[in-house]
């Protein structure tokens, strides 16, 4: 028991919680940025502007099908070769935003596509322009359908911030490794703490989501 008490000493816990804060910070910034970019890209892909949409669509497919870890490596270790240098925090946010925007663009596109085409036809026939129909009629309905996949995407984003430990971002996993690196007896307590902290954040988010889902349906 004294092992546990030592492992979870206030100094260690505070050090971990500061890491959790970095994790949440990176997640929140990336979620906001990728929601904005993802929505714009998703709409561009849906609307089918000649040429532009095809290129945007292809780039989205490329990014979606790469491992996030590779994008992270590329941003932090590859880009400096062509003169773009970032510190770990900005590199993590940049890589996550690029990756997640592509994922969210696809969610937005299929959300809009899932809305019955009669809705747009109805909007046009009562005299709305295409953009009015999209904004006032189609998008709000699509939003409802997008909530569950969006939330699971946000949850995987939070989990994926742990990958940034490799570019020495001092987030939760990184700090746990430092603590058990000093004393292997702290290993199991640290992994339990990691599991609990990630679980609480992600599960709480999924509870909020299912609450939202019930309210909107």
């Amino acid at each position: 028991m004294s092992n546990l008490a030592e492992a979870y000493s206030w100094i260690n816990l505070r050090y971990l919680l500061e890491g959790l804060w970095v994790t949440i910070e990176v997640s929140v910034v990336s979620i906001i940025l990728s929601f904005i970019f993802g929505s714009i890209l998703g709409i561009i892909r849906y609307v089918r502007f000649p040429f532009v949409s095809a290129i945007v669509g292809f780039v989205i497919d490329l990014i979606r099908n790469l491992p996030l870890l590779l994008l992270l490596f590329f941003t932090y270790f590859g880009l400096p070769k062509i003169g773009i240098r970032m510190e770990p925090l900005s590199a993590a946010i940049a890589a996550m935003t690029v990756f997640e925007s592509a994922m969210i663009a696809e969610i937005v596109r299929s959300g809009i596509q899932a809305v019955d085409t009669g809705q747009m036809e109805g909007a046009r026939s009562v005299g709305m322009t295409y953009w009015q129909g999209l904004r006032v009629i189609v998008l709000p309905q699509a939003m409802k359908k997008m909530i569950p996949p969006l939330v699971s995407q946000f949850i995987s984003l939070i989990k994926d911030t742990s990958l940034a430990t490799i570019i020495v971002l001092p987030e939760l996993l990184y700090r746990a490794q430092i603590i058990y690196g000093q004393n292997t007896r702290y290993m199991i307590p640290m992994f339990i703490a990691l599991a609990v902290m990630y679980f609480v954040v992600c599960y709480a988010l999924s509870l909020v989501a299912s609450g939202l889902e019930k309210r909107t349906s």
């Binding site: 497919d61 099908n65 270790f77 880009l79 990691l194 999924s206």
Partner: protein
Amino acid sequence: MINVFTQHWQELLLGFGNTLLCSVIALFFSLIIGSTFAIFEVLPYKVLHIIGRVYIEVFRNIPLLVIGMFFYVVVPQFFVTLDGFTAGTIGLTLYTSSFIAETVRAGIQAVDDGQMEGARANGLTFMQAMWHIILPQAFRYVIPPLGNQFINLVKNSSVLAFVAGFDLMYQGDAIASTTFDTFNTYIVVGILYLIITLPLSYYMRYLEKKLA
């Protein structure tokens, strides 16, 4: 860029093979584990239902990297020795099985209730009806989402790089750190990943449209 490939194609090919191998192994076992827990969730036993729910929620809400590192760092320290490839593949299997369980459960629940009622009315037991009537129909619904899970699995297998699993990402990283040509190496590694994932993702989109 071509230099990276011509000079290091052996390491890259080994990594490519390992990535495919661990993805296929993890898919196989996570299909078995995932389907089992999915059936737990639809069986009329409360205890099994709770076990299924807990398993799924635990492995869905903890980062894959934490699970993989647990098997690479903690398990060898206190229990049995595992090499990086095995530890990573076990982590991948457990993580993916929770997502597959959710997918299969949704597929089972998408099958019309009348199918089960009809089967039971014809004298089949619950398990017989599940096996012969419900699951075959459910698998048709879940093929596209399972395909997408496999794509995620291939991408997620890159965490083997953290645990010395000699996968594509690990080899790429090793090449990058010896040649210092990080920019081009990562692009080559990316192209190799896309060779697996991109055709699969287009095929799944086509299947989704066809089955919808």
